[in-house]
Amino acid sequence: MSAKIFSKDEWAGVLEGLKDAYEVYVPVKEGDFHNFRPLKEGTRPSFEFQNTRMSPKFLTEPQSERMFEYTLDKNQPDAHILKEDEKEIPPRAVVGIRPCDAFAFQLVKRNFDTPRYKDPYWLKRYEATTFVGLGCNDPCETCFCASAGSGPFDRKGLDVLLYDLGDAYLAQPLTDKGEALLEKTDGGKEADEASWKKAQGLTRQVAGKGSRRVSTDKLREKDVNALYEAPFWEDVAFSCINCGTCTFLCPTCWCFDIQDEVQMLPMVGDRMRNWDSCMFPLFTLHGSGHNPRSSKTERVRQRFMHKLKYYVDKYDDGIQCVGCGRCVQFCPVNIDIREIAEKMNAL
């Protein structure tokens, strides 16, 4: 199937129409910023955004999710035995995801989809999701996607790529999943030569503007212990307040915690998994009281070493960062990963 073109006038109807086949997630303006939300009655999609405040990683890893449930009532035959929460994940489509954020799922997948173990919670959601990306006509100042293996119109991790042509969206299917989605859309027409030309012009124009370059080319060859012992960590970490903003907003931070939560009357409980952060001291605290990363300098170092060295060495295919710039924009103390990458790369 070939690409389709949808006028912006019919766009809201197109999204509505997708609801028959998918749970549809769209960017929604909430106060000062956008977030992805399920398209429901009364939801007003808003595509006037650079990027959402929270990354769409919640689609595969919700901040809190139930893994198991159980009863603690001794009179029940299955007391204390964990049961899988067998919720079905319906087909879902996220429409308007930025290419950097979509690429992030590819990086994170390496963690959850391994030869030895597969994380069913993450994978079920990932497989059920069709990624309909929206190319970036105006990459932000804080973005550096082109230095992070992605780009404003990058296709990796996308099933459909949308080009915003001003009065219309050109939708290009990239995978079978993407074709299937486009086939289910109402309206639109086959993309004509002129629209294609416009899309190509757009891509060229944005590429010409160029996003900020961040050097990461020498990270792979650096000695891990030399980077670990680098003299700059104390200075880099000074201002850090050890909050979880960077890790929680990051589309490629996947770390989580597992916690049991119990309620009385009836005595039932859930085993939950919640986002966790390497910035929190508790993350690595041993039962004995010993903590291998007890100081904030050690924790800050861990975050950057993980993204810019450990991951690089482990998978030998780039950094664990897609250059979305969220941590740069929203770190309360302005710790800037671009500057740290430069420092590490230049060591």
Partner: protein
């Protein structure tokens, strides 16, 4: 899709208090579904997540040996929320075990070699598993001399006392029991710290592999003793403990550099550790 987070339901078959401070207990578990025992095929050195509904999970080294059938055993120190609750549970109670997890001691590398086991305190659990495993008649011939140095703070803090005494008497195993100090006049074994006793009793690194498991301070002082004896870093094997949750390399907290203690470990050679940042 198989769910690697789902524990096997087990019943507590027996509980033994190991130490005089009553903070260490050995729990024997029996699988509620007998077919799960075969699925839980393990090798000495591995660990499992003990799972208590309503409390959480805790990673513990497997203290039983795969040569012991019909049960699996864990010795648990009472330190946190989950272990405290476990210590209050009774025989017959139902809980979960998830595993086996992690890697194991390098049994193939040790074949045909002298094996030196150095253990301290409550970290002796997977070493017990290993000793039972090696002493099994069908396995014993695969290894040359077996030397064990095991110490605790005091006689009352030694784990598996009956087995220790029995091993002491065997001639296919060179057993050295020690305590840091004791005022017991009848104490007939060694007195002294594990590193010192190791230096005294282990005489050669010739064709030998050493497995070391114990508190960080013991490891720190044992390592130079072994290196002085001539053990190359590849033949010094350590088992590490970092805080863990998932046990399958996904939740991210137990990393040492790019390695995850839960999945790539807990067993590492000193040679491997020397390549990694010291985040443990």
């Amino acid at each position: 899709m198989e769910n690697p987070y789902l524990p096997y339901p087990v019943r507590i078959d027996s509980i033994t208090t190991e130490t005089e401070d009553r903070n260490l207990k050995t729990f024997k578990f029996v699988f509620l579904n007998p077919e799960d025992e075969a699925k839980f095929a393990y090798t000495p050195g591995q660990f499992a997540e003990l799972s208590i509904a309503g409390k959480g999970e805790i990673p513990i080294g497997i203290a039983s040996s795969p040569t012991e059938k019909g049960f699996i055993a864990f010795t648990v120190n009472k330190v946190g929320k989950v272990t405290t609750h476990l210590h209050n549970m009774r025989e017959g109670d139902v809980m979960g075990v998830r595993g086996p997890l992690g890697n194991w001691y390098p049994w193939e590398q040790m074949e045909g070699k002298n094996v030196v086991i150095v253990g301290g305190g409550f970290a002796f659990t997977t070493l017990r598993s290993s000793i039972i495993y090696m002493l099994e008649p069908e396995n014993r011939s695969r290894f040359e001399n077996i030397t064990v140095v095991y110490g605790a703070r005091s006689p009352g803090m030694l784990l598996y006392k009956d087995e220790l005494m029995a091993w002491e008497k065997r001639d296919d195993l060179d057993m050295h029991i020690t305590v840091d100090a004791t005022d017991d006049p009848d104490w007939k074994y060694n007195v002294g710290f594990v590193p010192a006793i190791t230096e005294e009793k282990v005489t050669s690194a010739e064709n030998a592999v050493a497995i070391v498991c114990g508190p960080p301070i013991m490891i720190r002082f044992t390592q130079p003793v072994l290196e002085k004896l001539g053990f190359p870093p590849e033949n010094i094997i350590l088992s590490l403990e970092n805080r863990m949750k998932c046990g399958i390399g996904m939740c991210g907290r137990c990393n040492i550099g790019e390695k995850l203690v839960c999945k790539d470990g807990p067993v590492f050679s000193l040679a491997e550790l020397k390549e990694l940042p010291p985040d443990y």
